[in-house]
């Protein structure tokens, strides 16, 4: 937990920035406890999208007219904000993608297909979201490389004692890990894994989807080579995200998608690629969404990454305390001091769908399912869990209503 001198955030006040909370669900105020899957959008971001479309929109880069220049400046301005947000050395190392998933696929295809082969190891963890698992499983299969797992301990934390054994089993080329687990909230030792990856001559690929919205990110301090995250999980629009990659890696890589804008010169015989990041941005990009992403970065930065982290930590501690008093509950994941604002649980043998359905009737929105982490679910020995997750607008009363709802579930299924 970073010690913060920053003022605490006022979730109640921030809530009024979010129009979604002005409605009732099943006659009750909305308690939205599913921000890990996607967050709601503040007026500042919505207004930015509208103003941009109304005053500055045109396709970027190619036009010589005023609107296109204005649009390009906004789009590239968003790239600069995003680079600063994660302390990337240069905005040129920021590639706009559809989301973290596409960013991770880009690395798996564009880097993996060329650089992996038989005898090589791709090391992932049992904690990965399918987005940082399935692409590697697939590319390993296609290239003849071997997929190796870093296992979890009983706390839902990575067990690094196998690293030496893994290093001895082949040529480690890729290490892929999420900084924060979407399923358990575990904060992973990415700095340490980055150092280990580099000792092996491997690249370190970080899924930052669940981290970037919730804590200060410094990709240089993390020591990784790639870092992917999505706008929609941090108050921004859907369909846009960012992939940061080290300049020399991005420059040496083949493109991922081919088409407009990513070229330098096209002849009948061959095509040469544009500079980074254009090389990876084929076709018309999600322009307004990228601009909205920039506005979301501004919003989150104004609130303060450390303040958000502190707020969610307090909520997680409160939730774990209150929920542990519910008879028959199983709470998954590490202790509060080592987890983000995510609480995964099961209530006796009541199916998560039924838990989530009954909570919905109380106006409480949580997630029920495998959270795109089926290997993890298999490890936990369950098909699915319930998951409550928090953000800068979450207030303790929403957790109280979750707890009340869970008591109601118990009564129904007693």
């Amino acid at each position: 937990m970073a010690v913060t001198t920053q003022a605490k955030l006022d979730a109640r006040k921030l809530r009024s920035d979010f129009p979604i909370f002005e409605q009732e669900i099943h006659g009750k105020p909305l308690a939205y406890l599913d921000s890990a899957v996607s967050t709601h959008k503040p007026r500042q971001v919505l207004d930015k999208l509208r103003t941009f479309y109304e005053t500055s929109y045109a396709n970027v880069h190619r036009g010589v007219y005023t609107l296109s220049e204005r649009s390009t400046a906004e789009y590239e301005g968003a790239r600069e904000k995003i680079a600063a947000f994660i302390n990337a050395p240069s905005p040129r190392e920021i590639v706009f993608v559809r989301g973290a998933t596409e960013g991770l696929n880009l690395v798996a295809y564009a880097w993996g297909l060329v650089n992996l082969g038989p005898g090589d190891l791709v090391v992932v963890t049992e904690l990965e979201h399918h987005s940082n698992f399935v692409p590697w499983q697939y590319i390993a299969k296609r290239t003849g490389a071997t997929l190796r797992m870093i296992a979890l301990d009983d706390n839902g934390e990575l067990d690094l004692s196998d690293l030496d054994a893994i290093a001895g089993a082949g040529n480690v080329k890729v290490v892929a890990n999420n900084l924060v687990s979407n399923a358990l909230g575990t904060i992973n030792p990415v700095e340490r894994l980055s150092a280990w990856a580099h000792e092996q001559g491997a690249i370190m690929v970080v899924d930052g989807a669940q981290a970037a919205p919730h804590r200060a990110i410094d990709v240089q301090a993390l020591g990784c080579d790639f870092f992917a995250f999505s706008a929609h999980k941090m108050c921004g629009p859907t369909s846009v995200g960012a992939l940061w990659g080290r300049r020399e890696l991005l420059q040496s890589m083949e493109p991922f998608n081919l088409g407009g804008h990513m070229i330098r010169k096209v002849t009948l015989e061959e095509t040469t690629w544009g500079d980074i990041p254009a090389k990876f941005e084929a076709g018309t990009q999600p322009i307004a969404e990228a601009v909205g992403f920039g506005a979301a970065v501004d919003y989150v930065t104004d609130v303060g990454a450390d303040a958000i982290e502190q707020h969610e930590h307090e909520l997680a501690s409160y939730a774990l305390g209150r929920m542990s008093e519910i008879p028959g509950i199983t709470l998954y994941g590490p202790p509060a001091e080592r987890r983000a604002g995510i609480v995964s649980f099961n209530l006796g043998d009541v199916h998560p769908h039924d838990v989530a359905q009954i909570l919905d009737l109380e106006g409480v929105a949580i997630r029920a399912g495998h959270h795109c982490c089926q290997p993890l679910m298999a490890k936990l020995g369950v098909a699915a869990t319930n998951r409550a997750s928090f953000y800068l607008y979450t207030i303790p009363e929403e957790i109280d209503r979750l707890v009340d709802g869970l008591h109601k579930v118990r009564k129904v299924f007693a």
């Binding site: 199916h351 998560p352 769908h353 039924d354 009737l361 399912g369 089926q374 098909a383 699915a384």
Partner: protein, 145 residues
């Protein structure tokens, strides 16, 4: 009636807590497994025919699932017993949904129909009965071996 009472009406909870036809069937004449990719739920269906090799004598199911899917599959076993495989292969889903009798969102519809889909798959594998029209072109995705 409140939305809650509609959704978790007594008969649903009764079938969930005391499922009919829950268990395995040794030497089943027809058998299939189904998954709901939304939640990872799995159900296995086992069918035994009467001597005519056509009439359903016994249906059992095993697996895990939510109250809606478990109750729906439990009701399904009662609904199809004594019917012919051919009849059940074309059983309209509304017949089961009427039996369940609760309003279902598209997501929960998948839960409610998992058992029926799996039963139709089992009959198809054992008897070659037609699969539902909406499955056409999906032979590669279904485990028909």
């Amino acid at each position: 009636m409140s939305e809650f009472d509609q959704l978790y009406r007594e008969v649903i909870l009764d079938h969930y807590k005391n499922p009919r036809g829950h268990g395995l069937l040794d030497d089943a004449d027809a058998q299939a497994e189904g998954q709901n990719p939304l939640c990872g739920d799995e159900v296995s269906i086992y069918v035994a025919f009467e001597e005519d090799g056509e009439t359903i004598d016994e249906v059992k199911f095993s697996g895990r699932g939510c109250a809606i899917s478990q109750a729906a599959t439990s009701m399904l076993t009662e609904l199809v017993k004594g019917r012919s495989a051919t009849d059940v292969a074309t059983l309209p889903r509304d017949e089961l949904l009427d039996e369940i009798g609760i309003p279902l969102t598209p997501v929960r519809l998948k839960c409610a129909l998992l058992g029926l889909s799996t039963l139709k798959l089992a009959l198809h594998k054992a008897k070659g009965t037609p699969l539902p029209d909406e499955w056409s072109g999906m032979a590669d995705e279904l485990d028909l071996t």
